[in-house]
Structure formats: structure tokens, C-alpha cells
């Protein structure tokens, strides 16, 4: 019988453009799910750089297994944000997957729709 175990962050979906101060999502330890195109990857440091438009983010991939990295491909990562003293952020990824073929417009639109739905639910429950 499986026990409850420790809580595991589900990863709040967020765009790279939203992930900058003073956004409340830009917080040390925040559990996030992000999407971007792989711009560079270092096998030595296991650090990947993903981009989305003019926004970018470093991803620490040392804990990922069975994932091959191809520059130019789209990836989605779930993990916790680490804010370093110089305010540079790195996502320590727990989970990652190649999402080549994902309809990005549809993905971003669905993100907005879910947020809208959740806000409507919260407003209804508070009345």
C-alpha cells in the first residue's frame, strides 16, 4: 500500500517572460514548469540554456536521466528555482521532456484559459 510520502511540487506553469523580478513566481524554491528552445548545453557542467523570445533561463539537468539534448529542440522542465546572490536564476530540473511538435500558440492560450478558470473559481468560492 503506497503511503502519502513527502509533498512533491507539481510545477506551476509559467512562461520565461513572466519569470523575472518583481514577479512573485521569481522566488527561491518556487516549483515551476517552464518551456523553451535549447540554445546551448554543456556536458561538463550539465547546465542547459533555454530561450523563449528574448527571455532565457539556465537549467541544471544533473538529476535528469534518459533525456538527450539537441540544440534547437523544444524542452519542458519541471523543477525548483534557485536564485543566486547575483539575482541569476537556475532551475534545478527534476523532470524534463522533449516537446518538439508542441503547438506553442495553443499551449500559451491554454495557459491563459486555465488561469482565467482558476481565478473565476476562486472568486466564486470567496462569495
Amino acid at each position: 500500500m503506497a503511503s502519502s510520502g513527502a509533498a512533491v511540487g507539481s510545477g506551476t506553469p509559467v512562461t520565461l517572460k513572466e519569470l523575472r523580478p518583481p514577479s512573485p513566481l521569481f522566488a527561491d524554491g518556487a516549483s515551476l514548469r517552464i518551456l523553451g528552445k535549447l540554445q546551448e548545453y554543456s556536458v561538463e557542467t550539465t547546465i542547459a540554456m533555454i530561450v523563449d523570445g528574448d527571455a532565457s533561463l539556465k537549467i541544471d539537468t544533473q538529476h535528469l536521466r534518459d533525456l538527450s539534448f539537441r540544440v534547437g529542440s523544444m524542452y519542458q522542465f519541471i523543477g525548483e528555482l534557485q536564485i543566486q546572490p547575483d539575482n541569476e536564476a537556475v532551475l534545478r530540473a527534476r523532470v524534463g521532456r522533449n516537446v518538439d511538435g508542441l503547438d506553442l500558440n495553443l499551449y500559451y492560450q491554454s495557459l491563459q484559459l486555465v488561469r482565467q478558470f482558476q481565478a473565476e473559481r476562486a472568486r466564486f468560492q470567496s462569495t
Binding site: 512533491v8 527534476r94 523532470v95 478558470f117 473565476e120 473559481r121 472568486r123 466564486f124
Partner: protein, 149 residues
């Protein structure tokens, strides 16, 4: 009027599933805004695996103890073997990071909502999660008649 969707696998977003209340208490039925539910279909990324029997932040339980369970001891061995083989083959496909569709009964363990899976399938289409999400929103507004929708 209490609406019942107990006979169908209701497509729910994780935050809706996790806010379900057991109604009445200690029964296999749950309710969400007056709607009775007992089965669900969810889709998401596997972020946690424990002995191949638990996935994600919506805890999903896939039982693999058919050979030793007293519940299955009452059934025909050939049927139990088929069920066990199916469960084991489905469990072998579930990996950390995989997008997985789970259908099953909504249950509760130590006060927390979970799904006892009857079928588990890995989705290869990168758009599957988005399409499921849009399905959940559309069904919530047009079929489940969610207040505030």
C-alpha cells in the same frame, strides 16, 4: 437537484480533483459543487514514482498484487492472470517525466484524494496534455455545469 456523473470517467483538472469531498463520508462517492463523481480521467506528467505504484501530485495507485490479494483470490485464476499481466505491462511503461493518462476510481487514503487506476497509458503526442486541459475546461463549462464557469 443533485447531479450524478458516477457512471462516467469525468475529465478533471488536478486542482479540481484535489478539492473533491467524500460525500457522504466513508462512501465511494465524491462530490464537487453538488455533482456526484466516482470515476475520473486525468492526464499529466509523472513527477514522482514510488515502487511503480504511485505517480504525480495527483496520487495514482496501480495495484500489482493480484497474485496475493484476498480480493482476487475469489475470482477465476485465468481472469486474475490477465488483469495482473495488463497491470504489470502498463506499470512498466510509466517513467519519470512521461505524460500519462490515468483512468480509475476516485478514492481516499489518509484524508487525501487519490486515483485507484484501472488503466494507465503513456501519451506520445506532445499536444496531448494541452488538448486534455482544453477538454476539461470545455466539459466544466458546458457539461458539469460548474458554478463560476
Amino acid at each position: 437537484m443533485d447531479k450524478s456523473l458516477s457512471l462516467v470517467h469525468v475529465k478533471l483538472l488536478a486542482f479540481d480533483l484535489l478539492s473533491l469531498a467524500q460525500s457522504p463520508p466513508d462512501t465511494p462517492t465524491f462530490s464537487l459543487d453538488g455533482v456526484s463523481l466516482s470515476r475520473t480521467e486525468v492526464l499529466g506528467v509523472v513527477v514522482y514514482l514510488c515502487g511503480r505504484r504511485r505517480t504525480g501530485c495527483v496520487p495514482c495507485i496501480l495495484w500489482l498484487n493480484h497474485a496475493t490479494s484476498p480480493y482476487f483470490a475469489r475470482q477465476r485464476p485465468q481472469g486474475v492472470r490477465l488483469i495482473a499481466d495488463l497491470a504489470n505491462s502498463q506499470a512498466s511503461l510509466v517513467k519519470l517525466g512521461a505524460v500519462t493518462r490515468v483512468c480509475g476510481r476516485i478514492t481516499s487514503y489518509q484524508g487525501a484524494v487519490q486515483i485507484t487506476a484501472s488503466s494507465v497509458a503513456v501519451e506520445r503526442d506532445p499536444n496531448a496534455e494541452v488538448l486534455h486541459l482544453l477538454d476539461c475546461l470545455k466539459l466544466a463549462r458546458r457539461v458539469y455545469d460548474r458554478p463560476g464557469s
